[in-house]
């Protein structure tokens, strides 16, 4: 496995080796040493003969530590087994028993889980008495609530997913559901937590034995040895440190194994470090972008984009997912963060941004008014009162009723449409020359979408701000914009007016896009055109035109060399003047 070559992988292998060595070989190798008393060498410090010294009966402390590992780890594993077994049963019950009983059980678990495990273990130790196995039982039972809660939460999250609903519709019974669908999907996080739990159990055990409530003499484990060592710490501190180090190392070993398991199951991406920024000189047009490139390590999602917006102009940037349109918008707004690197020149006046999801784009912990007012306070240097007043005015400008009340509310109290209006109002707190709207209506209902698009038009007309509207929907762009830029695989392939778009675009991709999406006039008797293949990913670099592999008009020249952007089209064979009928008979795939 490649993962073993990472530092964590090495650590995991080392941990496992360490544990196995101690548990399997420790008692075998040092058994004799551990019981040999030497009344001539009581309580000695470290020496060549006794690496960590001797105890009150002259026995080699290191040997005793080694021998004790089997009992210590064994009891810890026993406690873990009890905890996981009990937790699985109790935590799995709500899924099997149904709503009422399930709620009762989960409520009970919720109450018990509030108490720290060690406290419960101590109470149970009182009830069950001292001794190794009773302590294991105490610790195991004390950890059952935590595992039950974990099992239950994991099971509930799986149970809420569509494939469980689908299985129910198929008639799958509760028990089969639990074993076939739910448990396999929670196995991995449970294994991780069980491994970490084993480490915790080990530590809890050491604690109990240390207090004298766990393993009793003449048996001994690390906890008991630690206790003995502490009593004589002024005579021989090493005798206290050795068992302590063993406990710490073993606990660490379990943790490393748990983290490694989590990584194996989860799969984490390693980010490539980088740095970079772009220049932002003075305005001329409302917005000018020259040869914009955005790179993340080897991948270059934006491969050289150039365009400009005149003051008050409304331009759409259209593309499918993976075309690079959103990153272009973010780069223009200066919001690309490391490890992304931006090259190229961007010059624009004051910019306002409207993002796609207003629920996540507004800070849930702050009132709407605060988020609007701070723009004016920071950039406009307005007083608090004046800034809030402007916020109310702007909210009214975007047609939010009862703005004075809304301004004091939190984002989650507003509807989706209102939130998006609030975002637009936030952009208007200054005097933006450019408004960049990234899929502002994708998450909204169609009637609300119309209102927002109308609002953007009104705002642009009144304030003279230019709009760059990013969308995957040609019809949406057609509603608001006068010009459209079509992006494919990181470059602009066509720059045309909306009239041209309606009459018949020149680029084969734009035409295919138009033909494959049904509109209100589509011919129902014809199948929809489909575009075979898929868009190249940002890491792929093709020698010729990126669309060539999927283009019905491609020839050898298209595959060999990339066409330049000329007369608004980036194509060696632009289509002249034909209109596109939706559901053209394109090539099926």
């Amino acid at each position: 496995m490649r993962r073993l070559r990472t530092p964590l992988g090495f650590a995991a292998v080392a941990s496992l080796a360490f544990l196995l060595f101690m548990v399997v070989l420790g008692p075998i190798i040092w058994a004799g040493e551990a019981v040999r008393t030497d009344t001539m060498a009581l309580n000695q410090g470290p020496s060549a003969e006794h690496l960590v010294g001797t105890d009150g009966l002259g026995r080699d402390v290191l040997a005793r530590v080694m021998v004790a590992s089997r009992l210590t780890v064994g009891l810890a594993l026993l406690a873990t087994a009890i905890a996981v077994g009990g937790g699985l049963v109790i935590g799995g019950l709500p899924a099997v028993l149904g709503r009422r009983a399930g709620r009762l059980i989960s409520g009970f678990i919720g109450l018990v889980v509030a108490f720290p495990g060690l406290l419960i273990a101590l109470v149970l130790a009182v009830v069950l008495g001292s001794g190794g196995t009773s302590a294991a039982l105490a610790i195991g039972l004390a950890s059952v609530p935590a595992f039950a809660r974990l099992t239950q939460t994991l099971a509930a999250s799986v149970a809420g997913r569509d494939f469980v609903a689908a299985a129910r519709v198929l008639g799958v019974g509760r028990v089969r559901m639990l074993f076939r669908h739910i448990l396999p999907n929670i196995g991995e996080p449970l294994i991780v937590q069980a491994t970490l739990g084993a480490g915790g159990a080990l530590l809890a055990f050491a604690a109990l034995s240390f207090l004298g409530l766990g393993v009793q003499a003449p048996d001994y484990d690390w906890g008991l040895l630690l206790n003995e060592g502490l009593n004589r710490v002024y005579l021989n501190p090493a005798a206290a440190l050795a068992p302590g180090a063993a406990v710490a190392l073993a606990g660490l070993a379990f943790n490393v194994l748990g983290e490694f398991a989590a990584q194996v199951f989860g799969g984490r991406a390693t980010a490539a470090p980088a740095a970079g920024r772009s220049a932002r000189p003075a305005p001329g047009d409302a917005l000018t972008v020259e040869d914009l490139r955005v790179a993340y390590g080897d991948a270059e999602p934006v491969k050289g984009v150039s365009f400009s917006l005149e003051p008050g102009e409304r331009v759409g940037l259209v593309g499918e997912s993976g075309s690079g349109k959103s990153l272009t918008a973010l780069a223009v707004a200066g919001l690309i963060e490391p490890p992304g690197v931006v090259h190229g020149t961007i010059s624009s006046g004051e910019t306002a941004m409207v993002f796609q999801d207003p629920m996540t784009s507004l800070n849930p912990a702050l009132r709407v008014g605060t988020q609007l007012a701070e723009v004016a306070r920071v950039h406009g240097r307005l007083s608090r009162k004046a800034a809030w007043e402007r916020a109310v005015t702007r909210l009214t400008d975007v047609h939010i009723a009862a703005a004075a009340r809304v301004v004091r509310q939190y984002p989650h109290e507003l509807s989706g449409g209102m939130r998006q209006r609030a975002m637009i109002a936030m952009g208007l707190m200054g005097s933006p020359r450019v408004i960049i709207a990234d899929e502002p209506t994708t998450a909204l209902d169609v009637t609300v979408q119309k209102q927002i698009l109308d609002l953007l038009r009104e705002v642009s007309d009144r304030s003279g701000a230019a709009i760059l509207l990013i969308s995957h929907d040609l019809a949406v762009v057609g509603q608001l914009c006068s010009r459209v830029l079509v992006m494919y695989a990181g470059v602009i392939v066509e720059d045309l007016t909306v009239e041209r778009l309606r009459a018949g675009p020149a680029h084969p991709y734009t035409r295919a896009l138009l033909a494959s999406v049904p509109d209100m006039a589509a011919d129902r008797s014809q199948p929809l055109a489909t575009i075979p293949g898929r868009m190249p990913s940002p890491a792929e670099r093709l020698p010729g035109c990126a669309f060539a592999p999927r283009c019905p008009l491609a020839d050898s020249r298209c595959h060999a060399s990339p066409p330049p952007l000329e007369n608004g089209v980036r194509c060696w064979h632009p289509v002249a003047g034909e209109s596109v009928t939706v559901a053209e008979k394109g090539s099926e795939g």
Partner: protein, 323 residues
């Protein structure tokens, strides 16, 4: 959209108080039941094998252990309201007295440790989140994860032993607790450090992870789009959202801290509740154990309630969420 009551805050508080009272009832019943589940005669176990039958009978009657169980439960609960927690089976001293004597030491230690945790973990975690975002400063990230991982894993009593060995025995820099009662601030250093180091490391890690999440969230992107100064971005926009996640874990850690104090007290021979409890368990002095567990459990529940209330203030959405 959920139907909102006219006072969502009051409803939220009401639900939390309800849960607090239920948990308290559970705690009281558990501490009561704990003693009665133990096999054998507790009085005989406490007084030892040599005690005479008359003494045992007298003690049993004295403690009311010959009454029917429901009556004992009733007495127990009513006794709690008057602060009557029974008497030690071994010494005969009122349990309430023992608790009153020892609680201040435990409480003070726990508070000092808690302060240390908060003052170190949150700023360190936040700073590291800002510094190591987006793969920057890999070296720093590695050092931090390594050191904090180690500290978080080593249990407090081990740390306590190690600290004693290093600072008290070898270097003779700081004293270990002096039971004669002269406890100056320097006596608090080692125990508080031992208690706080693990939770502080764990909390710093959590704060960093939460911070990374918050700093790459959509609303932080909006804040950056507004070109706000870094101070506002971190303190006004990031911090409140970060605190909600950190607070939940912080609450758990504090509960763990309360439990860990039992062990640390033992190592340092600290004259607090934990020490009393362990001795009582070994001596099978159940009334003392009952009383101390009640205090510890109650403290944990109070901490949870405080965390819930604080969370309700920080994250307005959580007050609507049903549990």
């Amino acid at each position: 959209m959920a139907i909102q009551t006219s006072h969502p805050w009051a409803a939220y508080l009401g639900r939390r108080l309800m849960r607090f009272l239920l948990s308290l009832a559970l705690l009281v019943t558990a501490t009561f039941g704990m003693v009665h589940v133990i096999p054998g005669d507790p009085v005989r176990a406490a007084l030892g094998v040599t005690a005479s039958p008359e003494l045992i009978a007298a003690r049993t009657a004295e403690l009311g252990l010959d009454l029917p169980i429901w009556e004992q439960y009733g007495r127990y609960v009513t006794g709690l309201f008057t602060g009557e927690l029974g008497q030690s089976m071994v010494s005969g001293l009122p349990v309430a007295q023992t608790i009153a004597d020892r609680l201040p030491y435990t409480a003070l230690l726990a508070l000092v440790a808690f302060a240390v945790v908060m003052v170190t973990a949150v700023p360190v975690g936040m700073a590291l989140a800002a510094w190591t975002r987006g793969g920057r400063r890999r070296g720093l990230e590695l050092v931090f994860t390594g050191v904090s991982g180690l500290l978080a894993v080593v249990p407090e009593f081990l740390l306590a032993v190690a600290l004693i060995v290093v600072f008290a025995v070898t270097l003779e820099l700081l004293p270990v607790a002096d039971v004669t009662g002269a406890m100056g601030p320097e006596h608090y250093v080692l125990p508080a450090l031992a208690l706080a180091a693990g939770p502080a490391a764990a909390l710093a890690r959590i704060v960093r992870v939460e911070g990374l999440g918050v700093l790459s969230s959509d609303y932080l992107r909006t804040a950056r789009a507004k070109r706000l100064p870094a101070r506002l971005i971190h303190l006004r926009h990031a911090l409140p959202n970060l605190l909600t996640g950190a607070l939940t874990i912080g609450g758990l850690l504090i509960s763990g801290l309360i439990a860990g104090s039992v062990l640390v007290e033992n190592v340092f021979a600290w004259p607090g509740l934990g020490d009393a409890m362990v001795e009582a368990i070994k001596a099978k002095d159940y009334p003392v154990v009952q009383g101390v567990v009640l205090i510890y459990g109650g403290a944990v529940l109070l901490v949870n309630l405080a965390v819930d209330v604080a969370l309700g203030k920080l994250d307005p959405r959580s007050t609507i969420r049903e549990d």
